[in-house]
Amino acid sequence: MTMAETLTIGRALNAGLRRALEDDAKVLIMGEDIGRLGGVFRITDGLQKDFGEDRVFDTPLAESGIVGTAIGLALRGYRPVCEIQFDGFVFPAYDQIVSQVAKYCFRSRGNVRLPIVIRIPFGGGIGAVEHHSESPEAYFAHTAGLKVVSCATPEDAYWMIQQSIASDDPIIFFEPKRRYWEKGPVELAAPQLPLHASRVVRAGSHATLVAYGPMVRAALDAAQAAVEDGQDLEVIDLRSLSPLDMDPVYESVRRTGHLVVVHEAPSNVGLGAEIAARVTEECFYSLEAPVLRVTGPNVPYPAARLEETYLPDLDRILDGVQRSLAW
């Protein structure tokens, strides 16, 4: 029996949060403006009204305070879901995340579990002012003790947020903010995949594209366009940024011999580097070209009227593919 619905990513997140609140009385939602306003992106719309101010509550304006008190709530047995309003505002909480959230389980030798989810709308493309378009995922993926995921479709939005909340691991949950309004089917009965699995979202044979979050759509568009040039590209959505689920990537690269990794974050010491390093190690004799990266340049995120220059797009992705195939 299927129970599919068509939802935007934003509504799917909202529905997923709602269901998590229903399923477990210990789930809390906290952050700036997430109550009456429903969050600046309305992801928590209606939740305070339906679950009360005790479970869905606005915090004072300080991110370290949000994450720090979430730790305390988790120690008390709650399962807090923190919203960070925009990617660029997670850094005041960085110490609490990296030195506390990430390490509590390890240093307590498993005595303490912090089932905290930190939701971060990330990435550019919405014409925003500075600090509203960052892609800080590498900062978290490099941190042992954290898990990091990103959804790219409404279905994944719906299920991955629930899986993240149900997980006892602390999870940084990156939401592709420019895709909040994109629609897709959502199977409400059961999830198709575990949380930390990557997925081939388009099969192909000439080259492999790896992306996550907002760039999955860009990669799929590029693959679509490549058909005209007679190229058949495989597209993999990583979904989990830490740990990485690399087996589908290795398998793909062994077939195609070509890999292009796409992300918005700057290349230098980013996720693309890690994927390149691992794929080269695992598929050394299959690669017909080095792993190439199509990413934001190594400059601060620019003013909105320059973001099209900054962001990887269909053309830049195809350029990367051509360079790989022509190696």
Binding site: V40, L61, G65, P92, E130, A303, D315
Partner: protein, 376 residues
Amino acid sequence: MAMAHTAGADRPGGLDEPDFVQLLSPEGERLHHPDYDVDFSDEQLRQMYRDVTAVRRLDTEASALQRQGELAIWASLLGQEAAQVGAGHALRPRDMVFPTYREHAVLYCRGIDPIKPLSLFRGADQGGWDPDEHRFNMYTIVIGAQTLHATGYAMGIAKDGKVGNGDGEAVLAFFGDGASSQGDVNEAFVWASVFHAPIVFFCQNNQYAISAPIERQTRVPLYRRSAGFGFPGVRVDGNDVLASYAVTKTALDQARLGQGPTLIEAYTYRMGAHTSSDDPTRYRIASEVESWQAKDPILRLRRYLTAEGIGDDAFFAEVEAQATREAMQLRERVLAMPDPEPLSIFDHVYPDGSPLVDAERDQYARYLAGFAEEVA
């Protein structure tokens, strides 16, 4: 003339605070305050009127430009003109200002071309004026971060010996009621106090941090925060340009003279949305907004000028017309604003440059040239 004191609800946003300074009642009545008695010249008052009117008009224009898609977003100062113009007038040329993202009126009083914040909110740049030129730092969007920069700058003033003497300098640091919860702001208080820095913290309590009412940040009035850090705090009627001027000037003078920091809480109200992206009907009721209309900062100044014969209808009309001309010019200049060059994203990443950025610029230029070839 009566003694200052306005009643209000007993909440952190309440008005029944002994230190609430008001020199102009909502009805335009001139009040006196034992500690903050200032004589204003007629010309000074007229200039203040010109400025509050101009900045409101510019703000209206910016909001319109945003609705027409010419700005990506706009953070309106509607309702906060008096707080900002009063503070702006209290500054001396060598004083340094650290704004948030809403101090368009202070920027205006500093003599900065008002196109600057518009190009920022248009997305054409990130507000790249030279902070030194008009002694007005760039806008800061990360809540509270600038209060530490301001404090460090003030420590530098002290190191330069520009304090406690004739050519004393001071810093005026703005932040909002929401920002008061940030660790950075409280650390700035620690530093300012310990280093006795020549700084005035100017908190515009406009009662909201986006949707969060002031009760979500504090149980007691914000001006009381500083005492526990070792310096005085004062609450001023932020809709009263005269009081804002008087309180800011006194505090800046004290800072310049080496008497250390002051916290000013300008009690005001954000009449509009947080920004053009916001929908305040979700979190506050119309009657609240209306009740503040009666306290309009421009209206009360106009009433006062009228009553005292300092401004007549001709004056008000002329000020209005001048404000409209400025706004229209601004609009034209916004429409004519060129988009930045794509390759400029590689500029100024580092003062000393970087081979990584240079290589990427070159690669990108070749990539763009490839398109041009294709097209040709």
